[in-house]
Subunit: 428 residues, 2 copies
């Protein structure tokens, strides 16, 4: 697959997440013509999405129009479109509107979506957090619960409105629980006249034995203690058996609550189906050590969509892992286009794990080093601002955080999308 005369080598990238963008960033080659297709017009900085859901950041502070990011790359074309399938025999990506994109090399980087483990009917009551709309939906539900509680005269219904259940104590669940607790216990109390928002219950429900299981036991215990200090009720080893309009059920115990958030699990996008490829239990495509599809070296699967094993363990579904895979695939393609030999197999380099708990505590695991407390929080903040794209967003987010840190005021407390408000109010 060396450079072929005058016709460019057509590279199609599906998905403008961390893996896809890193691939394009690194694949600069005179004979490559890249087409990036995504069903959204923006790249989303998912690690901070929970801050939109909890009213700290504005949507535009963590999302950037994809075509703007590649405005100076004349070799990159951006298309807004939804993929319907992949025709491997004809080497074409099929779009839902009937269009098709021919490729010589294909990079599938379509990420994950939340999974309800066979309980898809729970989604209506327990939304997950993957897109900007998910974040504004959760924001709306949380804020509306307080508004409705203020107008509710029945004590039982009021209590259900003031109970928030977050299912899953991975980083997203912990971050959401911490921020909602802060909102209820510190930001809102002075603003309501009939309810005491400090009495709101925030439940963090985890099936496993401890919160943040990817961290070491001491850090995990510190995180749990910090959550409790913020007023979060942590239930570990608790299995959710039902989600519905009236609340959640843990084992045989029903808990009345009107706001449920799902942070318990994800599954890969339908990439395996499109490719008719072998997938693991979470739907992630099994790839070879060079991240290509077994039997089809022209197709790469990278990021959360790929099941990459290393030393007997799966590479975690984190932004740095996705970026490293995107970079690796770009290197392979570049070397192919130059007629060089393939690089050694992909190796994931774990840069560390971070998680925040509310506004003052965080935990960081970096090799043998552990950090926790407010210093870790500042390090976490600086690292995330560094990874944001563009000077403007860095300043805007830094400003929003500084403001929130100093005043405790959340600046994006908007209930939007009126039609839905009406529905929710009617439901009451």
């Amino acid at each position: 697959m060396t450079r072929s005369g005058g016709t460019p080598h057509k590279v199609v990238v599906i998905g403008a997440g961390f893996a896809g963008l890193q691939f394009i960033h690194d694949l600069r080659h005179p004979s490559a013509a890249i087409t990036l297709v995504d069903r959204r017009n923006h790249h989303l900085f998912q690690p901070l999405l929970y801050q939109v859901a909890t009213t700290v950041l504005a949507t535009s502070e963590i999302a950037w129009p994809v075509r703007h990011l590649f405005r100076d790359r004349s070799d990159v074309e951006t298309l807004l479109g939804e993929v319907a399938g992949i025709d491997r025999a004809q080497r074409r990506v099929l779009l839902k509107d009937g269009g098709a994109l021919a490729f010589d090399t294909l990079v599938v980087a379509t990420g994950t979506r939340h999974a309800y483990f066979g309980h898809d009917d729970w989604e209506a009551f327990a939304p997950g957090l993957k897109t900007l709309e998910d974040a504004t939906t959760i924001r709306r539900r949380v804020l509306l619960a307080f508004e409705q509680a203020e107008r509710e005269s029945d004590p039982e219904r009021r209590e259900a409105l003031l109970t928030f259940a977050i299912i899953g104590a991975g980083p997203t669940g912990v971050e959401l629980a911490g921020m909602i607790a802060e909102l209820a216990h510190y930001t809102l109390p002075r603003e309501f006249r009939r309810i005491d928002t400090r009495r709101a219950r925030i439940l963090l429900i985890e099936g496993g034995p401890r919160v943040l299981p990817v961290f070491s036991t001491p850090l995990s215990a510190y995180a749990e203690a910090s959550l409790k200090e913020l007023g979060v009720e942590v239930s570990t080893s608790s299995r959710v058996t039902d989600c519905g309009p009236d609340g959640v059920r843990i084992g045989d115990t029903a808990i009345a609550c009107r706001t449920i958030i799902w942070a318990a699990g994800v599954e890969a996008s339908p990439a395996a189906k499109w490719l008719d490829a072998e997938a693991d239990r979470a739907g992630r495509v099994i790839v070879r050590p060079d991240l290509t599809l077994p039997g089809d070296a022209a197709i790469f699967v990278v990021g959360d969509t790929a099941a990459v094993m290393q030393d007997g363990k799966p590479v975690p579904g984190l932004a740095p892992a996705a970026k490293q895979q995107g970079a690796y695939a770009a290197k392979v393609v570049r070397r192919r286009l130059d007629g060089k030999t393939a690089p050694p197999p992909f190796r994931y380099w774990h840069q560390g794990s971070l998680a925040t708990i509310g506004k003052h505590a965080a935990i960081i695991e970096y090799g043998r080093f552990n950090f926790r407390g407010w210093m870790a929080w500042w390090l976490w903040g600086i690292a995330h601002i560094y990874f944001l794209i563009g000077t403007r967003s860095r300043f805007a987010v830094a400003w929003s955080w500084l403001w929130n840190y100093l005043t405790g005021i959340h600046s994006a407390r908007l209930i939007t999308q009126r039609e839905v408000i009406k529905e929710v109010i009617k439901e009451t």
Copy 2:
């Protein structure tokens, strides 16, 4: 209506716009208990709404949760609720969910909505700009038009996608046309590969003989020249006779375009119907010189919902006029509660008119003084930042503007609300 023993005087305010907020701000009285009801949870700074629609500002930069604004006023209670009617005999405001709010004094400040002059079916094709959702709808349509044009192979359909019609050349229409022209002609060109966004047509269609008719003829002419310099095609004395999925019709001429924005007219909220009161042609409630309802001194109608005549001319529907009316009504109520005589009738004090054209020009009329050009633009910006609520928003908006001014980059170019995207794409 003097202070009556221990029971507080119940004041209900409908609407958290400029008039309602100013009223509450000014009515601080030991015997008044105020309830503010609005169907939205936020106050919206409408003068800058067009900047959300044109991707310069984020939604949360121009909207603030109402209850946050009055968090320190224990005499003020905020309710999220939609008004269904007013029972004047029983002195109650009826809410859509069945609730009711008793009042001794009522302030109706529910503003306006866009009016299609008997052509309500045009609304689906030509959305107006009144709410945050209106702004994100317009933002989505404008951005999607460019995305779809990039994928359209038929030249005629592509041209229709790249034609934007703004109907009505008042301040909102002029501001929208200027910003969309800037977006198309200066911000986007480098980001598209198949279309030349500089060839996009931005049409500003006005029924009257000139743009910005509230300004003097020379300033109006300057505004028109500035618009043309930005690439806006201005058509005055042009009557729109139809709006539909294929475009607009001016007189007998059909113009193919896929994005239409309605900035041509407003009508008052249904307050007159609720009150069973006399209204003018635009639905505004006829009030007495003290802004109360004829025959019912306990009910005030203020802001854009009221038809206030002064020296034979109607007081304009501007934020300063609404604020002055809110302040006046508060003064009347305060004096009544203190057992004092009524103040002299309401007098509107015109502080001046401002309008911007794109990013570098503005016109200001201040009594006998006129300003125009870039100095006026800076004055306009400073005035608007000053009027924003809260230090945080002031900094955030100043930063967004400075960034846009220096780099030309629009920072909130998000297409959100996926369901709608799908629909629009299907329509194509």
